[in-house]
Amino acid sequence: MALLSKKDANLILDPLSDNNPITIQVLGICSALAITAELKASIVMSVSVLFVMGMGNVVISLMRNIIPSKIRIIVQLVVVATLVIIVDQVLKAFAYELSKTLSVFVGLIITNCIIMGRFEAFALANGTWRSFLDGIGNAAGYGIILVIIGFFRELLGSGTLLGYKVLGDPIAKTGLYAIGYENNGFMLLSPMALIVVGLIIWVQRSRNKDLIEEN
């Protein structure tokens, strides 16, 4: 890419696969699981995190030389909380139904460990542009897992995608339902989110043997 040097491009590409925040670094699981029963909620959550992380990394990176290290956690929390309040208010104003579905999990972006983790590990030590890329990359890595989980849970659980009945109508018995297919309501229940993540980890680590952990 002409726009980005190779090193900068890796900041975005690494978290998408081999250094994924959710499946490898195990950060930010909390919100990832609770809201993924629908694809739409997953996408909105990913975009919110993308905004908060991109902006937050920039702000922290700009302030990195003037934050006393003793109180940096509180400074970071205040920066994130401010950004999250913006997201929350925007959601409440323009997508009220969705903000009801996400409920407290928008607020919980504040304690999303990815954000604090990236502030600590990257933004406090690097320049603004690189921090921005790092934030975007990690948020995208988080988002991609959310979208995958949301896709499978909504498709298998309610037979829809973004609300469209892609598999046919379960009541009128059209499409797949005509030949006796049934929705697996279990996919909508919260435990299945954990199991789907487990399976994603399984697939990912089978493809890349370097990621396998010691027992």
Partner: protein, 246 residues
């Protein structure tokens, strides 16, 4: 009294922080390799939740919610500072954690040695902020109930991390497929445990309907947000689906 007992068991088993709402998963996964450390972190979480939830309840009641400033005088009754709750809650939590750390270090070095290293971790544990946010969205009525809610959610979290740590200590000797080792199998086990915990949902939803109507929390339950009810609702619809099939 009855509402206290109900809230206590509900928060531990039915609305378990880890298994029903996935709060505090990060530290749950990271610190559950050994039982001893898991117990330390679990105890710290109980402690901090029991302190911060009542504190944030007071903040919510007398500062943040719609009309909360009425005690200052009638001209303040129209203010709604609800949008500030995230920032105030997290500030309270971060300050309390710091304060508790200093106090414990001064007065009980033994306790500090066992809990101390976990306290800073807890400031950014989603379970703590989640406790306060759920306290707010579920509209908990009194200070006593808020304390009860904090304490029992903490105990629920403690139970969960204790259980997974015990399982992980044992599973080290099992022959898990290589790509699933560590994180993968932990996720799947947690999922299975969550399915197990769902069966507790029947204690309130599938039980005696007449008794449920007497319970004073039905009105407040309606106010709960969609997602927090999801587990319960789904259990009901799941139970109904099974009933229909039979």
């Amino acid at each position: 009294m009855l509402e206290h007992v109900e809230l206590f068991f509900k928060s531990i088993f039915i609305d378990n922080m880890v298994f029903a709402t996935f709060l505090g998963m990060c530290s749950y996964l990271a610190v559950s390799k050994r039982v001893a450390t898991a117990v330390g972190l679990g105890a710290a979480v109980i402690f901090v939740l029991a302190v911060t939830v009542p504190l944030n309840w007071l903040l919510d009641q007398y500062l943040l919610r719609d009309g909360a400033l009425a005690w200052l005088g009638p001209e303040y009754a129209d203010y709604n500072l609800g949008f500030l709750s995230f920032i105030l809650f997290i500030a309270t939590i971060a300050t309390m954690v710091q304060l508790v750390e200093i106090v414990v270090e001064k007065f009980s070095p033994a306790l500090y040695n066992s809990l101390g290293i976990f306290l800073p971790l807890i400031a950014v544990n989603c379970a703590i902020l989640g406790g306060s946010l759920f306290m707010q969205s579920r509209d908990i009525q009194t200070l006593g109930l808020a304390f009860n809610y904090g304490l029992s959610s903490g105990i629920g979290w403690f139970l969960a991390i204790l259980a997974i740590a015990a399982i992980r200590e044992k599973i080290r000797y099992s022959n898990v497929p290589a790509p699933l080792r560590g994180l993968g199998i932990t996720f799947i086990i947690t999922g299975l445990m969550a399915i197990g915990f769902m069966s507790f949902g029947g204690m309130l939803t599938g039980g005696d309907e007449a008794a449920q109507e007497e319970v004073p929390t039905t009105a407040q339950k309606e106010k709960e947000d969609k997602i927090s009810e999801e587990a319960n609702e789904n259990t009901v619809s799941f139970n109904n689906a099974i009933k229909n099939k039979n």
